[in-house]
Structures are given as C-alpha cells and as structure tokens.
Amino acid sequence: MTTPLRSLFDFNGGVKPDYHKDASTRLSIGVLSAPTEVPTELVIPLHQSIGGTPRPIVAVGEQVKKGQRIGDADGDVSSAVHASTSGTVSAIEMRRMPHPSGLSSLCVVLETDGRDEWIACQAFDHKLATPQEIRDYLRDCGVVGLGGAVFPTHLKLNADRQGGIETLIINGAECEPYITCDDMLMRERANDIVRGVVLMREILGAKQVRIGIEDNKPEAIAAMQVAVGDCGDDLQVVVVPTRYPAGGAKQLIRVITGIEVPHGKRSIDYDVQCFNVATALAIYEAIGLGRPLISRIVTVAGNVDAPRNFDVLIGTPIKKIIAACSPLPDTNRLIMGGPMMGVEMPGDEVPVVKATNCILLGSNKIFPPPAPEMPCIRCGECALACPADLQPLELYWFSRAKIFGKAQEYHLFDCIECGCCSYVCPSNIPLVDYYRFAKSEIWAREKEKSLADEARDRFEFRQFRDVRDEQEKSARLAARAAAAAAAKQLATTDTVAIPNTEASTEANEKAALIAAAIARAREQQVTATPQNMQQLSAEQLAEISAIEARRAEIREQAKPHLPPDA
C-alpha cells in the first residue's frame, strides 16, 4: 500500500542534535535470551511500571517456569511481573535498582536452570472477552508502555468506549540520539508489530491508524510498509520529519493529527491514543501467543567498539550485555536512556527492566563534562526550543528560588523533560535538573499534605466519636433509670407513698436498679443447671454434692466475722 499524500502538522521548538544512530544498526538484533546465553542469575525487580508495587507470589526455593507470574499487580494501576526464564527463586530481597538514586527495591532473584522451559502458553480470544477481561488479562501479562514511560497499557487500551476512538497512533519515531531499538524492531519484526497494531485497533475500535516513523529510518519505513501491505487492513505508515522530540506522544499527535492536547487534558479526550511500536509487539505476544512481557530490545551504544541491539531478558545484569559490545577502557559512566533524557546508573550490576530502552556508555571524549553554569541572561533560546510551549526561563527562576506555587502556575508539570532547553542554553544551565528537583519536591509536599489532611480527618472523627459515645452512654443510662423508676412507681403506688424530694428519688432508683439486678442474677443462678450434669450416675451426683457442701463450708469460714450489731 502506498502512502497517500497527506499534510502533516508541526510542533513548535525542538532541536536537531547529532543522531549517532548508524553504528548500532549495522548488526542485526543480537539474541541474549537464547538458552545458552541466559546468565546464571536474574534479578527481577517487582516495581517496573508506574503505579503500585506488585506483591511477590512465589516463595524462596520455588521452581518457576519461563513466563510464570511471580508478582501480582497491586490494584488497577499496576502491572504484573513474570519469570524471564525457568529456574529456582533463590531470594526475594532488596537489590540496587537502575535508578539515579542508587537505592534498592524488592526484587525476585532467580537462579536459572538453563532449560528455558516455557509455561503452557495459550492465545487469548479478545473477541469473546469483555472489556474488563481484556484489561485484566493485559495487566496480568505485565504489558506496559515500552517507549520509556512504562505506563500500564491495560489502562490505555480501553474497549469500553462507546463508538471507539478516532485515531490510533503507533509511535515509531524514536527521536533520541543513539537509541535504535525501535528502529531495529521495525526492520526485523514488522509483521508481528502490525499484528499487534491490528489487535489494538480491534480492541479500541479505532477508525484510522497511523504509524509515525521519522524519515531518518528508511529501512524501518520500507519494512513497515511491506508488512502493512501484507496485512490487508487499512493502516497507514506516516513519515514524519526528523526533529527531536518528534517521538514525544503529544508532539507526534500534533504532527500527525494537528491536535494540540492542552494542559490538564489527555489525548483520549480528543479521541486519539498513542502507543509505542514495541508495546504493539508486546500486545501481539500477549494476546496472539499468550506470552507475557519477559524480554525487550535494548540498544547498547556510546563508548563501545561494537554498538548493537540485543533482545534481552528482563532481569539480566547490564554488565552482561555491555560485555558483549566490548566497551572501551575510558568509559566513566553508564546512562539508561539517551543522552538527552537518560539518567545515570549507580553501577553495572543493576538489571535490565521494562523501561531500559538503551544503555549508553559515556566517556569524557564523547560527553565532555558540562561547562560551568553561568547566570541566565534571559536570551529566550530555551523558550524557542521548548516543544511543550512553556517558558523554561521562568520555570528555571521559580524552581531555583523554590517558589513552587509560581512554577506550577507556569505549568511545570507539562514539561516532558526532553532537555531541549538545556541543549540550547548558552549559559550551560542544567535546566532539566532544576525542573526535576522542583517536580519531586512538589510531589513530596503534596503527598505530605494529603497525609496530614487524612490524619486531621481521623483525629477529628475520633474526637467526634468520643463525644458521641459519651452522650449515647449517658442517654442510655438515663433511659434505663427512668424505665426502672416507672416500674417501681407502678409496683408501689398502692402500698408506699413515693418520697417527693429529687435526691431520694435518685437514691431509690439506684437501689431499685441494684435490687432488680440482684434478683435477676439469683433467678438465673437457680434456673441454670450445668449442662454436663444431666447424665450422671447417682454416685457421681453424691460426690458433687459432697464437694458443694465442702465449698459452702469454706465460704462460710472465709466470711469476715462481723460484730453482731453491724
């Protein structure tokens, strides 16, 4: 199918950095997930997506198969995790995460057995399933957005919507320098991607499908066009101009449909939904083949002799794939992601997770240390480069001065942290670092505030409950006293004159209550016969009565000997 002529739209700003994409696309995708290549130990973090941390459902020492679920999604905004190969769970413990903090998180450590034995995989019939069943199935297959945000896909792939959506956009733009995992995936597995896209279209009921690919990937475009032609569905491959960050979801939607998703809205509010190409493949594997998400394509690039893409099992230590690319000796840092948005890794033992699209090795030669930060001169270059149409310089002033309220007024949270502003800044200000600082500070404060509000509510309710209980108790007592008094009055009207003074009425009420209680207790004592005494022989009964008599005697002796006049 040929792409019809169609007009594309444009987004503001953006930059054109050096792409460095050729080196890692010369070789085909290397397979590090083959049985012989599987490392002896996999460290699978439980928390790999946005949302709640999955709960481990395996025990230490348990045998697991490839694709077996080891962590159950915690709530709806969460996604399951699976064993990437067969083996034994050797520990469930805190291990260092591929996260800039270098902190640890709960991981399932798998000692692999080399057999790479799959669970019984069964395709899922989405046509017979209800929307809720599809959502639950994808959640339990651990399918998340593989473009980098790892947002649980089942929340976006909503079949409930009346009349379907207008446009389904598949994001194959991959705009960040060095990263080529989506490019290679489209070149080599275009047919499976297209099968996934067709599945997504059926679930979402999308009227049109656009697969957006940047024009610097001619091989991927050709492969996808062939695959689209073969599938028989009217999907369209759209070639978009190469400019960073054309692969941002909002930017790609703008380029393809012309829709600008405003502040506070999501693309679905405009009948558009956007997914990454690797996510489409994961959906095909989950629904079409019944396989959960246990591996992904990772680019290794930068300061290595042989940059390449690998199909890597989730949980593989990154040093294992780096070693396959012969890193150069002057490597001094490891970055997960690309040079624009990537974050530095605390060490090379951290595992590959679902968010790992690229491992970039840095040296002072490739990425020289940043020049010293100089004062902002308000030149406005950052505002011209910002693809989200923000005012980065204002955000910078407010974040730097910790005036977070104003930063939010200038829509700090619409910043996609693409790094264009830092890239163009003539004063070398690490602008994105300031925004990240301000964002995490605001999140922490909001969380603290909501916890404080909750504590206040609970405290106030407790006080209210104490007062209410006290009132209810006194009301109950008063009602009982009144009832008792009335009963006594009825019983004694004929014989005794009721004393009229309030004090004596109260005393009488109390006395009556006590007397009534004693009478009730006596009555109960008389009527109650222990249940175990019904079928006893005469001998046993005699023994019991003897014991009772002895008890009565002792009780009599124990009584204080009061003077007779007391």
Partner: protein, 186 residues
Amino acid sequence: MFEAILVMSVGAIVLGAALGYAAVKFRVEGDPLVEKIDAILPQTQCGQCSFPGCKPYAQAIARGEAEINQCPPGGEDGIRKLADLLGREFKPLSAEHGIEKPKAVAVIDEQTCIGCTLCIQACPVDAIVGAAKQMHTIIAEQCTGCELCLPPCPVDCITMETLHETVETWKWKYPVVTLHPAANLQ
C-alpha cells in the same frame, strides 16, 4: 450648623446599618486564621506543644497565647512558614518541647503484644487495629509518628522505626554548581 449635623448623622446611620447588615449576612464561620495555621501544622496530634492536638495549638497561636516554635514535628520549616503567615520573627525550636527527629512510624512487636488495647485508646488518629486479648498492629501509612502509644504499653512492645528513603520517595536533589579550580592563566 444643624443641617451639617443632620447630614453627618444620617450618613452615619446609613453606613452603620449597611455595615451591621454585612456583618450578619457575610459572617465568616470559625476563624480563618486558625484554619490557615492548622494547615501548616503537621497533624501528628502528638501534644508535644503542650496542647491537646494540632487544632488547639493553632487556636492558641491565633489568640497570641502560644509561641510559634513549639512544634517539633513541624520542624524549622514549619516555624518559618508560621512566621511568614503571621508576620512574626523566626525563632529556633524551643528545646523544652522537644527536638526535631526524622519521620518515624511505630511498630508493634507482635510476639510480645498481650492485647491490652491501651495503645489503641492512646492513638489519636485510630491507626492501631486490634481487640482485647487479640494481637494489635499498626497501619504504617496512617501512623503519624506521635509516639503517644509508647508510654501506655505495659510490655514495651512498641518501637519507633525511622522511615528510610525508597526509590518511590526519593527526590531529585537541588542542582549544585560544582566548583572547578581556575585555569592557570599566564
């Protein structure tokens, strides 16, 4: 002369009536200042300020009966916010009311707990679950770290555990400008 007095009095009566009506019609329920102060206080309800809860302390501050530096959980940050709100001078935290500690939650040693319910009665925010002669436990997310459950426990089975930073609660640090030695200029 008489006219002038009349005009002024009529004016005074009209304006007084308008103000009186407005005072009844647009009456503000409660003290908005107390609400603002209460919003800054950390709601631990620990009583370290010598008032029975955060709201009473907020009321006392609003009446001018309490200093702004009596809240150890709010810390220096909280004192600064109160000083800003009330236009008072910043004061360091008063030592007699306690010291600022990192946030902690209470943890019950379930092996030792005898199920006496004394801690449940002491908890100001109902964060302890349990019943008489049943094991008690603390809902960590709802514990404010007030330490009020520690003294009543007859078997001392409650300890305070400091909350450590996790990947989820980690915050990006303020960008620090690294200083380099100046180039050796000729």
